[in-house]
């Protein structure tokens, strides 16, 4: 797994700044996404991670800098679960089929389309849930349903916002393996995550964001106390365990015990 960006470029941001109303959220960001990309974007809440994805996706225009996209590039997006309208009346089948809008299509799913949806749900380990309402899934299942919707377009570039927030350890492992397989098959992947140990440390390439790009590189170069403090503005210790970086923050609990000692 390389993933640090070789092969032709799919999307390129150069010196890009973005803002909402008068509030500048990202400044002078340069980020090139290659066909072989497998990158995790880390940073504190409000750092501009989702905004960075929006810039890559072209759902938001930068106020400065240039954006280039490979003509006709197919991108898919898996949104942050917190932003989804869970009251909306759609079943898993209806939701996964949504991207199929091209050409002359009937409102209802054809037999071939149904088979396709069942196959991708099966692959993601949520076969048999096609008839359920989207709210009747667990967090991990909801995440995989949106991944299924994204995969139905056979994307060249898959962008995911917090794909493992609120899921258990084994679901997180499943998602990681799945993404590794997809990357192996030639899908470029950019995702955001809060989870330094469970997610970021396992990815081949990381970008640290906090209003700008603070650092980027392999986890071994990026997961260091100095970079983390600049990114998160908090002191963290980094341990080495079986060749992996493990981040330990100063939890309130440890502060309490230290206070007592």
């Amino acid at each position: 797994m390389t993933g640090t960006g070789v092969g032709p470029e799919l999307v390129r941001l150069d010196g890009v700044s973005a803002r909402y109303d008068q509030h500048v959220v990202l400044s002078d960001v340069s980020f090139h996404v290659h066909e072989d990309q497998f990158t995790g974007i880390v940073g504190p809440s409000g750092a501009g991670k989702t905004t960075l994805l929006r810039l890559l996706l072209d759902t938001m225009r930068p106020v400065a800098g240039t954006v280039w996209r490979q003509p006709g590039v197919r991108m898919s997006y898996v949104p942050q679960l917190e932003t989804v309208n869970w009251n909306f009346p759609v079943t898993v089948m209806e939701c996964v089929l949504m991207p199929r809008t091209r050409g002359r299509r009937l409102p209802w799913a054809s037999r071939g389309e149904k088979a396709e949806v069942h196959a991708v749900l099966e692959r993601l380990g949520i076969g048999g849930l096609a008839g359920r309402h989207i709210r009747q899934l667990s967090g991990g299942q909801q995440q995989r349903m949106f991944l299924a919707r994204a995969l139905l377009r056979q994307p060249q570039l898959l962008l995911m916002d917090e794909p493992t927030s609120g899921v258990d350890v084994s679901t997180r492992h499943d998602v990681l393996h799945l993404l590794a397989d997809l990357h192996e098959e030639g899908v470029a992947i950019v995702l955001t995550t809060h989870d330094l140990n469970g997610m970021a440390a396992h990815l081949p390439h990381l970008v640290c964001v906090n209003g700008r790009i603070v650092a980027d590189g392999a986890p071994a170069d990026v997961i260091t106390p100095a970079v983390l403090e600049r990114t998160f503005g908090a002191r963290m210790e980094v341990l080495e365990h079986l060749g992996m970086r493990v981040v330990v923050d100063e939890s309130p609990a440890s502060m309490l015990t230290r206070g007592q000692a």
Binding site: F88, T101, P107, H133
Partner: protein
Amino acid sequence: MDTLLAPLEFAFFQKGLLVATLSGALLGLIGVYIVLRGMSYIGHGLSHSIFGGFAVAQLFAAQFYVLGAGLWGIASALAITVVVKKSRVGADAAIGVITIASFALGVALFAKFGSSGPSFDNALFGSILGISTVQIVGLVAVSLLTGAFIFLKYRALLFSTFDPEVAAVSGVRVTRIEAALMIVLSLAILATLTVIGVTLVAAMLVIPAVIARMLTDSFGRMLALSTAVGAACGLVGMYLSYYAGVPSGTMIVLVGAAVFVAVLAFTGGRGLRRSAGLDAHSEDLLAEPAAR
């Protein structure tokens, strides 16, 4: 049986029944998108604004008042879309001011110059009287257009209603679809205004859709159910208004409200949970449709 068949001997009642049923179905169908997009205040605003256009147009060219009202309606629909897109803050207020001012202008013109078309009460609360063949043809045409639009653009409409950002990424032309939906909505309001009435159209956009939502979790089924419920309310409401001798729109909305209560009793907490948070504006409309 005889009492049911008796009014059918009158041609005007046959027309009224046809128009009421079709109007209910049409509003029920579009209402699904309006409610799910949290746009019911736009339906409310548009009907009031069209009333102003209607009053102005009939001053100048009485025979073309429907055309004038239609153009006014489409113009307001597009203006509202632009206002909503451009400014997140205060869009509700801006729309409220514009449309209610338009409505007030209509009321003033009506009071001063009277009407060569429907009477004031009839325009506000709907009437079976004075339904012309032209209006029936118009309603049928708008219904066919709406049906075709929703059939052909079903998936793009669903995607951009559920998740406009991801829809845009997946190649759906969201802005165009939304503008088309607004035009179809204003045509539908215009075509149904005479039987349902200015003040009650917005309620009929909301009630069938909310009832359908309480009964199903599937989007496809919600569309079908909402259309059927709208049609049934139109049909039954028109009969009842004939016997009760009250404006047709009032009875159609009251039948809708009765069905709502019945479905609520039937589905209980489950229905409530399904419809929870559907559309903040729809609750105001359901609470007090005639007072607006």
